[in-house]
Symmetry: none
Subunit: 411 residues, 2 copies
């Protein structure tokens, strides 16, 4: 079943309002085992007509948002009726609902609102308990021209979302007929590039019958999405996990930081952090996770050398000898943070974020990360992430969180 | 000039990844006095072909994102070349750039990456300093079929945004001709809601001849965008700044944290931070700003009560008497951080992020923020941001940074 989305609204194309509808519909429909074939955004007015004429001859289901309001640029209802050659008539029930809406709010209904009670002959009125614009449903073959089932829906999420669940979903289910539900699984990996996947397992995944898959690369992370029947997904999942087990963050959409917090909680371990170049980002990511206060107690943002020395006891002579961005200083930071906090594990980072401060020996993008753990000593690794300042911080925080994850999983 | 956007990527239609490209392009082009006529999103694969064939015969400029990666579902380059009947050839310069990218990272280039050096004959290669996929520009009439100027751009914002500014904007400007370009000014405000603007100056802005304007509301921030001739913008700017001067963050797009760092540097003052509920986010935002190491020296993430006591000398009896989220503890944290660091100014935050930990007296969303300053004593304010955990952290960090800004500007 070919489902298309048409979002109308000049504001969606000016960047004032983020268009979240495309993704939201996709997620909802995907949960029903259905896909969005195409999503388009057009400004208010005649552009709606052009797009509508195209889509209505191509799609099986069309979901249109916006343009049902009372103002002069709200024209969706009129354009759809005109294009299909269907008359608009005033609907008594829709009229009464409008009157109730305004009187419940002690407001006088403007004359402009009257047009919101206009309904194409043969269409269903979809009640809108959260606004003045009722939705409309035009079943396939309403006028002999089109086989497309057409939904006209309000733009604001607080009106759209409940209407979708109450009125649209049951009708789409009936149109789709069979329960052709697909499953989806998202595997998050880190420490592996998108091209490593391609090189290693892409051909094998492509050969699996009935599997759809895709990659989404983020900073320091690749998400592998598997779509198909449960047994097909299981097969593909085992293949990927077997090949890249060490890099697997989660199979349930959990972020790296959520995985780290969960592992710490399972082992009843406490974590401390000492950050220089990431400036608090590691702490912030950890504390994004609900319940992190159980496992994360102390953090230092030792941005200056003096702070490294006075707060977590890094010997200033060590900094003078090796530089603040060095294996020795990273190790001293991690050990100092562990000692000061009494935590089981301490992570430290020191690096050169740029745009200034690089040198031939230590170019911008260089970072040292150290992990000190009760009974395991301290280990340090050098990373090189030559990116812009913000991406560098994100990359280093990802590498640091992954060092903790690997330590906790003993990999 | 009819500009269309085509975003490719299955993930954009499954709801996993929010498609922010449509709005972003709209904003950028609007800033140049241009509009987006239509935006569409299609899944990877053959759907790209169908959409491309339609648009290329209709639009003057087409911006395509995504599908330039190394994997088998990255097909944009191939589909465009095939549809237009243009041969793809290996570009030596693109090849060298790829090799440098990998060798700079001490990585071996996968064979899959080779196809990223394929270029349609007659196209310009648009360098991508932030990733492996170069962009491509196919000028109008490259093959006699289409009058459309076609840009193939990478999907990830960190690669797309710089490439758009460096490579795409100048070419679109040349295509549009100077007479189509308007001026644009973006004023950032904080501490004022979008509805305050509506209430206070919207009608006056609407009455200014030749002015286009729009608001963009973010967490703790409203951006007012003014578009028109320089004298019209100046008039509108004066109106807005006059009305809301205390809330003006910047007139040049600078973020609140960049404004704070600039003000600290101008006054040669040092800042320290002590964060509980924001978990390092304030430090991270400050250190997002290049040059912040000159003004920001020490930060503490005192997530536990013990850390508040041992690291910045908050009396445990004070915590026991008033609770960790209290005016008294916020003040003690700020004063402790100032004393420990020797900084001129220290900011502290303590609050209840949720989802757990609220009470009738201190519901989730409650935060105390204190500022201790050399010679000015310590002041504290209570905030209430009843939002989800991440938005709460963002709101509190915004309020804290704004307290520093107002202190430095003496407002």
């Amino acid at each position: 079943m070919k489902i298309e989305i048409l979002n109308t609204g000049t504001e969606l194309l000016l960047g004032n309002t983020l268009n979240t509808h495309g993704g939201w519909f996709g997620k909802e429909l995907f949960g029903m085992g259905l896909r969005v074939a195409r999503q388009a955004t057009v400004p208010d007015g005649d552009a709606i007509r052009e797009a509508f004429e195209e889509i209505v001859d191509r799609a099986d289901v069309l979901l249109i948002t916006g343009g049902l309001g009372p103002t002069s640029d709200d024209l969706t209802r009129e354009i759809v009726a005109e294009t299909l050659g269907i008359e608009l008539v005033q609907d008594e029930a829709a009229m009464r609902t409008l009157e109730v809406f305004f009187s419940a709010r002690n407001k006088v209904m403007a004359e402009a609102n009257l047009k919101q009670a206009l309904v194409p002959v043969g269409a269903d009125v979809l009640p809108n308990p959260n606004g003045t614009a009722p939705g409309l449903y035009l079943p396939p073959r309403i006028n002999g021209r089109s086989n497309c089932a057409i939904f006209l829906l309000p733009g604001p999420p607080r009106e759209l979302y409940p209407m979708f669940h109450e009125e649209v979903k049951p009708r789409i289910k009936a149109l789709a007929g069979v329960e052709n539900i697909s499953d989806v699984l998202e595997l998050k990996f880190t420490g592996i590039g998108e091209s490593d996947f391609h090189q290693s397992i892409d051909a094998e995944l492509a050969a699996i019958d009935g599997l759809e898959y895709g990659y989404c690369a983020r900073i320091g992370e690749v998400d592998l999405r598997l779509i198909g029947k449960p047994e097909v997904i299981r097969f593909a999942r085992d293949l990927a996990v077997d090949r890249f087990s060490g890099g697997l963050i989660s199979e349930d959409g959990s972020s790296l930081e959520a995985t780290v917090v969960r592992l710490l909680a399972e082992k009843s371990l406490k974590l401390a952090s000492a950050e220089s170049c990431t400036g608090g980002l590691i702490g912030s990511r950890i504390t994004d996770v609900p319940g992190s206060s159980e496992v994360y107690t102390h953090g230092w943002i030792t941005y200056s050398n003096e702070a490294k020395a006075s707060q977590i006891g890094v010997d200033e002579a060590l900094i003078a000898a090796h530089g603040a961005v060095s294996e020795e200083v990273a190790i001293a930071m991690a050990e100092g943070a562990r000692k000061e906090s009494g935590a089981d594990i301490a992570i430290s980072v020191t690096g050169i974020a740029g745009p200034g401060g690089g040198s031939p020996e230590k170019p911008i993008g260089t970072a040292w990360i150290a992990l000190a753990a009760e009974g395991c000593g301290t280990s340090a690794r050098r990373f090189f992430h030559p990116r812009n300042r913000l991406d560098f911080k994100e990359s280093v925080s990802q590498s640091a969180l992954d060092m903790i994850r690997r330590h906790l999983m003993k990999i």
